[in-house]
Symmetry: C2
Subunit: 329 residues, 2 copies
Amino acid sequence: MDQNDIKVLPMKDLTVDNITENVIRINSQNDDPRLTYVLERLVSHLHDFARETRLSTKEWKAAIDFLTAVGQICSDVRQEFILLSDILGLSLLVDSIDHPKPPQSTEGSVLGPFHSHEAQETPHGDMVSHDVNGEPCLILGSIRDSEGQPIGDVKIDMWETDSSGHYDVQYEDRQGPDGRCVMRSDASGNFWFKAIKPVSYPIPNDGPVGKLLSKLHRHPYRPAHMHFMFEKPGYDHLITALYLRGDPYETSDAVFGVKSSLLVDFQPADDSIAKRCDVKTGSLVLKHDFVLVSEEEANSLREEKSQKALADLGRMVKMVDGLPVPDVD
Amino acid sequence: MDQNDIKVLPMKDLTVDNITENVIRINSQNDDPRLTYVLERLVSHLHDFARETRLSTKEWKAAIDFLTAVGQICSDVRQEFILLSDILGLSLLVDSIDHPKPPQSTEGSVLGPFHSHEAQETPHGDMVSHDVNGEPCLILGSIRDSEGQPIGDVKIDMWETDSSGHYDVQYEDRQGPDGRCVMRSDASGNFWFKAIKPVSYPIPNDGPVGKLLSKLHRHPYRPAHMHFMFEKPGYDHLITALYLRGDPYETSDAVFGVKSSLLVDFQPADDSIAKRCDVKTGSLVLKHDFVLVSEEEANSLREEKSQKALADLGRMVKMVDGLPVPDVD
């Protein structure tokens, strides 16, 4: 940036009453209308938060220290800011805004902080967990579009904890990816693999986010679930999870991810499945049909919901790159 | 916390429209009404921010990465979250809310990220800067209450950069505190020391906050100033700064700290001052009278402004430990 491009607006004597408009004004001198709009809303809400709580210097300092601790505990394998976003309901909210679902399609859920890019592509039928203490299960999945047509060559990403409730990346001495796989659906939209029955577990609660939950008298548990991610050009990216019905934390998930349509039940394998998939008759099987939304349908639904939400707020907007910016023309 | 104390509210199928009330509800099960209120406003504003911007997953991820980088660059001598709060105007706003000033008292300004607790108590008259390239100056201060009575034994904390615009803590090879002092006012409310003429300088802009300023086409400069902090039991803690009038950044301070009442001019030392303070006749002198507010007056003004601001919002509040919580009785 050329220093000469910076227009300086005269600004001093800022008070509780005039600082917000001035900060917004100085943040509006760049050439990215989306950045300007996001910063305008951010500053406006941040300042209103301070004004409405009459935030004290001591509380502000506690917040600075808290956010610093959240940042400092992050590492290649720990993302405490995602955890913070999760327990404040922001992650679920953003997913719901960005990936609106028409009826009948598979609903989304939280990504969480434990997805990694380490899993190699695995052939159908592989056992993805090496945990001998886990209860083996078989997952039989299918992927269809909203017309019921199978979708082949979808990249499927799955991750789950071991039987003690820990993801592979939570072990310092781990040898490689475990409890994860990446595979592709076949021409009939099917995929299958062996895994272990998910267990409920606490989110990492030895850091600042755990301390906050404890202060709030909130438990840190997530109900048993298996994460899934589906990707194929032309389809809206789907991040979701399947939750075991009847889990003690089904209606109190620490990160607000559970949806009724994502609750699943294991069934006993019949002889035919047992033979075809090389599992014991009566062992656990989970069958689930996933329905992806086309990118076109998701984009149109997202835009429609954006227009409506912002019209309700009294803001005239135009869409730029699929996202709203105020329409000042 | 005993796990049995946790009341679990049934909660699933959270959507864009119902997640906020549910997160607020689960955050309200603790026994600290102030924490509950602060979290209620935080979650409400955070969610409204996402809904009003239709925040995308990609933007959310960029924010997570940004906040993580802000936390990771923090160290014993660098506080990037304070810097972020400063450039968003939050620091000045919180200081203004927490330390309201009646007319005629010295206004507050931003603390900034460079205060340290390293300076030893210094006798009046000491030279607090060892920078031989700085232009020496003499500071003659007095401290009075709002009735004009001198206040003795006030702990005064001062800090400034060297002539290159860097604080001592910004040097990796520093030997000890420099450009800082702690001293106490005498029985007449006076204090004096020798320092160097402040210079304007950029806030640290090699980190994530600097990158954000650059994206916003904002310059990172602060006008030349000298920080002061005043502490004495019975008086409201005063964090302020004196700014050199006519600085090129006087009306565009990157952290919004400048107030007209804090603009000062150097004068040439006359013979009498030169002799009394052992400086050259004609060298730079800065005289300033600071006026502290009693704790009682500050508390009462803070409470009055809180009541008014929250009544304007339509919230019934009661004060607990000097801070508002909603009055639900």
